[in-house]
Amino acid sequence: MAEKIKAEVSKDLESLIPRYLDRRHKEIEIFRAHLAAGEFEALRIGGHSLKGSGGGYGFPDLTRIGATIETAAKAGDAPVIEAALTEYADYMQRVEVTFV
């Protein structure tokens, strides 16, 4: 079993987190669909949004992954996006939230 990735999240956000994480799981599939369709503009916007929200919620890795997707989408770099999506999916499988 893969090692868990610990994320410390503010207690103030406890009620928002289940929904936020659920949306991230769904987003991975949406991003994959965009990539398959070559919809880089949609990926740029989605990556930018992920970059903006991740760190604020307590998931700085998501900000980093979002930035990678945004930058790669601007360049139309499908392999980098593919790798980022793999990391995104892996992160979502392994992340374990602690409220502080």
């Binding site: 956000l13 936020y20 916007i45 929200s53 604020g56």
Partner: protein, 423 residues
């Protein structure tokens, strides 16, 4: 005051995050979310005056937040705008500030503390701007009626001061920024002191900010040695703070009467140290500690008053220009005199001057001009107490040390010293 905020961001997740933090801090807040992608632009018919603060994202789909900011800032009803930027967008943040943003926040490391601090500052800014506008309107009306309020207030006619819920008894005094009245709160007949900002200064946002901040700062502090604030507000004609009334006068009067013994001086210093510890823990330097600002209650406990020039230690956006001295020169610390950065140790120096004055019945430094006095704080050796007070010299030497690093590191350390001294 209920907070009304507008959050303009194309990320629903981020809007929710902001709404949540605001709701935790201000449960009554009303937050309007705006998604530029689905709702389009905010047009000129949208009333912005109803918001105390706007949080505006930079990249919103294809929309450019900087362009929106420029457009909003041309409008008279635009509230303070906190610009939201992503990682690595510091240059954008600078451009936003140049284009009139009140502040900026980095989205990727947003925390509740950062958000609340920025929003609170924006609310203060909004409030100050509102008061300025109201005062300007009133001043214009007064001019038309040829009975300018300033003249009526400075004439000392307490009857022209009308604040709902209070009855003005008499004028107590006036300082550089305000006039002080003894009032009765009608609902419970409690006597309070009402400090009313000088009308001329109400036209000046900087002074209004300082006045409002005074209330904000003191209200945060729970200490019996800090003046209790009961109310703060503004009418069309006045900006005011209602605070505790001190029946037993100030320390200046006691020193003048010669009735403070060395033992009492040390006790008073202990109470002052307790007050300073409380305010310094809140990041506030008083900056104007002097006997006139030490007041006594009917039970003879003391409290520090007049935070008019107090300043948050962390406030890098100085309310006073570099080198501009606001403190009373007799109690000014050397670093204050030089216009350098201050921390709580500056107040400890002022406390040392007060202690010297209580013990020796005279001020340690006097001069014929303010400049000469300032130079003495910076350069002159610490005066010696009379021989019979020699046991207090070490304490005076520490408190009045020219270098802050040679003083107590904190008011708490001073209290510990006093405890040992008393044993």
């Amino acid at each position: 005051m209920t907070l009304h905020a507008l959050v303009v961001d194309d990320s629903e997740d981020f809007r929710l995050l902001v709404c949540q933090y605001i709701a935790v801090e201000w449960p009554d807040a009303e937050v309007t979310e705006w998604d530029p992608v689905t709702q389009g632009e905010i047009d000129d018919n949208h009333d912005l005056a109803k918001y105390d603060v706007m949080l505006l994202d930079y990249v919103m789909g294809k929309a450019d937040g900087l362009e929106w900011l420029k457009r909003f800032r041309r409008r008279a009803d635009c509230p303070p705008v906190i610009f939201l930027t992503g990682a690595g967008n510091e240059q954008v943040a600078v451009m936003a500030l140049k284009n009139g943003a009140f502040d900026y926040l980095r989205k990727h490391d947003l925390s509740k503390a950062r958000l609340v601090e920025a929003v609170r500052a924006a609310m203060n800014e909004r409030k100050a701007a509102e008061i300025t506008q109201r005062m300007a309107r009133t001043a214009a009306l007064s001019e038309l009626n040829r009975v300018p309020e300033v003249a009526r207030v400075t004439a000392g006619d307490s009857q022209v001061i009308e604040i709902n819920g209070y009855h003005v008894i008499r004028k107590i005094g006036s300082g550089g920024m305000s006039t002080v009245y003894l009032v009765t709160r009608i609902e419970d007949q409690q006597q309070l002191v009402m400090k009313i900002l000088d009308s001329k200064l109400c036209e000046d946002n900087e002074f209004l900010m300082r006045f409002i901040q005074e209330y904000g700062m003191i209200s945060k502090i729970e200490s019996r040695h800090i003046v209790k604030i009961y109310d703060q507000g503004f009418t069309d004609r006045h900006v005011y703070i209602a605070m505790e009334y001190f029946a037993n006068g100030d320390l200046r009067a006691r020193i003048k009467s010669g009735g403070v013994t060395p033992e009492q001086s040390m006790d008073l210093l202990g109470q002052v140290a307790s007050a300073l510890q409380s305010i310094h823990e809140h990041g506030i330097v008083h900056r104007d500690l002097k006997p006139e600002n030490i007041m006594f209650r009917a039970d003879d406990s003391l409290a520090i008053v007049d935070f008019g020039i107090a300043k948050m230690i962390s406030d890098v956006n100085s309310l006073t220009q570099t080198g501009h001295i606001l403190g009373t020169p007799y109690y000014l610390s050397p670093e204050q005199a030089k216009g350098e950065a201050l921390d709580g140790r500056s107040d400890l120096y002022s406390a040392g001057i007060m202690l010297f004055e209580m013990l020796a019945k005279k001020r340690p430094f006097t001069a014929t001009t303010p400049i000469a006095l300032v130079n003495k704080h910076i350069n002159d050796p610490i005066p010696r107490l009379p021989a019979e007070l020699g046991r207090y010299q070490e304490l005076i030497d520490i408190l009045m040390a020219k270098s802050p690093s040679a003083r107590f590191a904190s008011a708490k350390q001073l209290q510990e010293y006093l405890l040992k001294f008393g044993k």
